[in-house]
């Protein structure tokens, strides 16, 4: 069973999820620099250790890499990660009762495939 995290999470998780989302959605792209730990801590008014921990988590997930004295940079996202994300999302929907034919219809609609449209 997929477990969804709901409600306001703690700051460390919020920072991690926010940047993970920025990277996933392309608001931050490969090679781009994240704010420095101190800079972000000052902006948010949170302890620098908290930001440091969030960056550590992002690094562990393979989303960023930190270069000593240079800062944190977004790593190139592979298409594998997008595929994995699609599988994750679909598994949740499958669990909620989405049938295979509905899933395929949704794929056809999103990708605008002619064949899919005819079948609808």
């Amino acid at each position: 069973m997929e477990i969804r995290l709901t409600g306001k999470s703690n700051i460390y998780e919020q920072i991690t999820e926010e940047y993970a989302r920025f990277i996933r959605l392309g608001a931050l792209r490969a090679g781009e620099k994240l704010p420095s730990v101190r800079e972000l801590a000052m902006r948010l008014g949170v302890n620098p250790n908290t930001v440091d921990r969030a960056y550590g988590e992002l690094e562990k997930r393979g989303l960023i890499m930190t270069i000593p004295k240079k800062g944190a940079f977004v790593r190139g996202e592979s298409s594998d990660e997008r595929y994995d994300e699609a599988v994750r999302q679909l598994s949740v929907l499958k669990g909620a009762g989405l049938s295979e034919s509905d899933a395929l219809r949704a794929v056809a609609e999103v990708y605008g495939s002619a064949r899919g449209k005819e079948e609808i």
Partner: protein, 289 residues
């Protein structure tokens, strides 16, 4: 480094601190929490050498603070209600602090501007929040090695709280100890915390670590849920028909495995914040209900 060993203090026959042991490392921003009357202010007053302990010792970098005027200069204690002479102004207070601390005019000016402090108006005419902002600006400008803040965020508006937190982050060289009931602010700004209860430190550690050890779940079963249904020890539990919400202290995967065995309609994890953890801790220790 601040080290407190076996610290005791009674008011008359009423013991307030019955043996406090605490270590705060250099550069930490440390939160002191506890219910009203737990002894937070007493502890800060003892560290600031405003009160004398009945027993035990307080060491700053290995040297006792009690009755030590030189060590006193390394400390800045901002009480809940700071004392000031009747007609004094913020400008005069700044002059006074300059004789005692390595006062940073640039920092003071910056915060005086942010808080729009009237430097020539008597402090007694300030509102509660304004007074607080004035003393926050002074405290930050003094850049003390140890900064002790009692009820730190009391009376400050959200914008002033944010500026204050930023100011604390900027004080890289200082060790800051904050007592507050604004647990949201403490969760933001503190790395470590200590829970004062029953005259001693009941729990202490890293806030993020402490939060990582508890998990809150919301689950729905095909039938009404009772506390007995949950195969885990709950720090808190509430149910409404088929849906239950509870906090457990155990490994997350282990909890999920145990809960999945109940064939729930769904399981959700809800984040726990410091305030909720505090309430659980305090309830678990027999207070409140």
């Amino acid at each position: 480094m601040l080290e407190i060993r076996g610290l005791k203090k009674s008011y008359g026959k009423k013991p307030v601190l019955a043996g406090v042991d605490l270590t705060v490392s250099d550069g930490a921003v440390f939160g002191l929490v506890g219910i009203n009357g737990a002894g937070k202010t007493t502890l800060l007053r003892l560290i600031a050498d405003v009160l004398r302990p009945d027993g035990g010792e307080i060491l700053l970098d290995g040297v006792s603070v009690t009755g030590n005027a030189a060590k006193r200069r390394e400390l800045f204690f901002l009480p809940d209600e700071p004392y000031y002479a009747g007609g004094t102004t913020v400008g005069k207070l700044a002059e006074m602090y300059k004789t005692f601390y390595a006062f940073d005019d640039e920092v003071f000016k910056r915060y005086a501007d942010i808080f729009k402090l009237e430097r020539n108006m008597p402090v007694r005419n300030f509102s509660k929040g304004m007074k607080r902002q004035a003393f926050v600006a002074l405290a930050l400008a003094c850049k003390p090695r140890y900064l002790l803040l009692d009820e730190a965020f009391d009376g400050l508006d959200p914008l002033a709280r944010l500026e204050f937190k930023r100011g604390l982050i900027e004080l890289e060289e200082s060790t800051v100890i904050i007592s507050s009931h604004s647990l949201r602010e403490l969760e933001d700004i503190c790395s470590g915390f200590a829970l004062l209860d029953g005259g001693s430190i009941a729990d202490a550690g890293d806030i993020t670590d402490a939060l990582g050890k508890v998990h809150k779940f919301q689950i729905a079963l095909p039938r009404p849920v009772t506390r007995e249904d949950i195969p885990l020890e709950c720090l808190s539990f509430e149910a409404e028909g088929r849906v239950a919400r509870f906090i457990v202290r155990c490994d997350r995967e282990e909890a999920v495995r145990m809960l999945s065995a109940l064939s729930p309609l769904f399981i959700e994890e809800i984040a726990v914040d410091f305030e909720e953890l505090f309430i659980c801790e305090v309830k678990g220790r027999g207070y409140l209900q």
